[in-house]
């Protein structure tokens, strides 16, 4: 019996199959450690954002830390931005309290945190706590006191939770940004919150370019699990950690305090920029892209923002600005040292 002949058509089929198989193998290799499936999921989600409705970011201008002015401005921006209903919800307010250095505008102004508390309370939030896990301090208490936040929250009878010690529990790291980790430890009040309000400071950052409402989420990582500073986030990579934390947490909305921003050697040793702005939005990626633009950065210059747009972490393609205009508020912040 004659041996079966390999026809031209069969050969072409074989070559096509080998090409597809080889391509998949290369793609799988190139997308490690996340893996091809996760990678394709990110790309598809990023594309989908192009046909989805815009995210709304509300901007306030010419503001100061005057309590009444701030309360009124925040209420208006909150409405303009179409923020979620908070009635009956447990809310964690997460300010930036990374450290305290006299004379440096490195923390969220306590007046802004106070205005957020008043607004949430007026809108019927059932439980409000303020929490932070400073990355450079074993004890958050002195930072809370020295920054003036202690007096602000005491007057409103709101507890402060040191997230570095808040009975952490393991949660699955969703969306593939912490490859090789079966779980992430997160503080109890973070896991149990219905909504997190990331009340960030507008600052430059020597590793991340800028630190806004997404980078501010690093403070929820408990020090007792990951140490001081939160080294695991650097081992995993700053960008994947920023994006992965956003995905692992309950819903996050943003308020950015740019009334006095920080330029140059942020997040600790930069210099103040009187900017008079406040940004509010329910999509942290859209808020941070907008704020970065106001600081004179394009999102492509900031890795976690450009990756966030690409992977569709939020709506980074279509952003509708309400309130003050970007043109009126745009500055050029001095770049951080590299």
């Amino acid at each position: 019996m004659a041996a079966p002949r390999l026809t031209r058509r069969a050969l072409l089929r074989l070559l096509l199959l080998a090409g597809i198989g080889g391509g998949l193998a290369i793609a799988e290799r190139r997308t490690r450690p996340a893996g091809l499936r996760t990678f394709l999921g990110w790309i598809l989600r990023g594309w989908r954002r192009r046909v989805e409705p815009p995210a709304v970011v509300a901007l306030g201008a010419s503001l100061s830390y005057d309590e009444k002015l701030l309360r009124d401005a925040l209420a208006e921006l909150w409405s303009q931005a179409g923020m979620p209903d908070v009635a009956g919800k447990r809310i964690l307010i997460k300010p930036n309290l990374i450290e305290w250095i006299e004379g440096r505008p490195l923390v969220t102004a306590p007046e802004v945190v106070g205005a957020v508390i008043d607004l949430l309370r007026a809108r019927g939030a059932s439980e409000i706590v303020v929490g932070e896990g400073p990355g450079f301090r074993r004890d958050a208490g002195p930072v809370v006191a020295q920054s003036g936040l202690e007096a602000v929250i005491a007057r409103r009878n709101i507890p402060f939770i040191d997230l570095n010690y808040d009975d952490p529990q393991p949660v699955p790291p969703r969306d593939g940004w912490f490859p090789g980790r079966s779980h992430l430890w997160l503080p109890r009040h973070v896991i149990e919150a219905d909504l997190i309000v990331s009340v960030a400071k507008l600052k430059t950052h020597h590793w991340a370019g800028v630190t806004l409402s997404l980078k501010n989420l690093f403070g929820v990582i408990p020090g007792i699990c990951y140490g001081w500073p939160k080294n695991m986030l650097h081992v995993n990579g700053i960008t994947p950690s920023i994006l992965g934390l956003k995905q692992a947490l309950p819903p996050v909305v943003s308020v950015v305090d740019g009334i006095v921003g920080m330029e140059g050697d942020g997040p600790l040793f930069g210099t103040p920029v009187p900017h008079g702005m406040l940004a509010v939005g329910r999509d942290p990626l859209a808020v941070d892209i907008t704020c970065a633009r106001l600081m004179g950065f394009e999102p492509e210059e900031i890795e976690h923002l450009s990756w966030g747009i690409w992977a569709g972490i939020g709506q980074g393609v279509h952003i509708e600005i309400r309130g003050a205009s970007i043109q009126a508020l745009r500055r050029r912040y001095q770049r951080p040292p590299r």
Partner: protein, 301 residues
């Protein structure tokens, strides 16, 4: 009937607080009605084992023993599957009863075998030196195995090895960790978490790591301590002003023979009517040690 002295009253209140704070499982958490964890449980037992009632001590000790993992280390609590830095705390505490006990020996073995991140290439080492001006080839101890070394876990581990009488046969490893601490010293003295310099700026010291580093160096390498380290601690502990910083600062200063009356007065005044400091068993244990006898482990000359 005679009234208890004010000092004795403080003791009674503190003991009552710790009794209330002890969980039914025998351990202590970082606050009232909080999950039992290795660090606060160890700290309370280290500070108060001679004053607490015997059943409370036995329950706390049993909790610590139960929390030990099969690999010999301890995690945050028994639910944490990974052993990490709290192992040093557990060893420090259990060695008070018997430095040669099996659980202590297993804990020491875990500490000595815990992997530490080491940079592999000269290029990477040069880049780290450019950004941080540290010698990345030196090993201390990490918060979690496999990661970079940091000042506080390094100092804690050195103290634990000393407590377990395990320093003699580990001379080289300990000498390297002491060189690590010296290398991470801040420009004007003292320590922060381990980055004295970053991208063109010198970073300031902080009281907690400075106190731990001084305690460890005092016990294992006193000549490595510089006068500016002591001054940095005094300045930073008062600037911080928190009970934890003051307590650690007082203990470190007292160990090296420096008395800071103002710090003692500030810390004493911070005790709450319920006998606690900040309603935290951990901070209460540190404050109690600071005000009553200091760091319990002394140098062996």
């Amino acid at each position: 009937m005679t009234r208890p002295s004010p000092c004795r009253l403080h003791e009674i209140h503190t003991l009552e607080f710790l009794k209330r704070a002890q969980n039914p499982d025998g351990g202590w958490g970082y606050g009232l009605q909080r999950r039992s964890m290795t660090e606060p449980t160890s700290a309370v037992l280290l500070a108060m084992a001679e004053l607490l009632e015997r059943p409370a001590v036995a329950a706390g000790r049993a909790w610590l023993q139960r929390a030990q993992h099969r690999d010999g280390g301890w995690g945050l609590d028994p639910e944490d599957p990974d052993s990490s830095w709290p192992t040093a705390w557990a060893v420090l505490t259990l060695a008070r009863w018997d430095p040669a006990a099996l659980e202590v020996v297993r804990g020491v073995r875990w500490l000595l075998q815990a992997p530490v991140l080491r940079l592999q290439t000269d290029e990477l080492m040069a880049e780290v030196y450019r950004s941080l001006r540290i010698d990345p080839s030196l090993r201390g101890w990490p918060w979690r195995p496999g990661e970079a070394s940091w000042v506080e876990p390094t100092a804690l581990t050195l103290l634990a090895l000393h407590a377990a009488s395990a320093t003699a046969e580990q001379g080289e490893r300990i000498a390297e960790a002491i060189r690590y601490l010296s290398d991470r010293r801040c420009q004007g003295g003292g320590w922060n978490f381990g980055n004295p310099f970053m991208l063109g700026a010198y970073l300031p010291p902080r009281p907690h790591p400075t106190a731990w580093a001084l305690l460890a160096l005092h016990i294992l390498a006193p000549p490595a301590i510089r006068p500016e380290d002591i001054e940095a601690l005094r300045v930073e502990m008062h600037r911080d002003g928190g009970a934890m910083a003051l307590a650690l600062g007082i203990m470190a200063l007292e160990a090296i023979g420096v008395e800071d009356r103002e710090a003692r007065e500030r810390l004493t005044a911070m005790q709450r009517p319920d006998g606690s400091w900040e309603e935290s068993p951990y901070t209460t244990a540190l404050a109690w040690m600071a005000l009553h006898g200091g760091w319990p482990w002394r140098r062996r000359d």
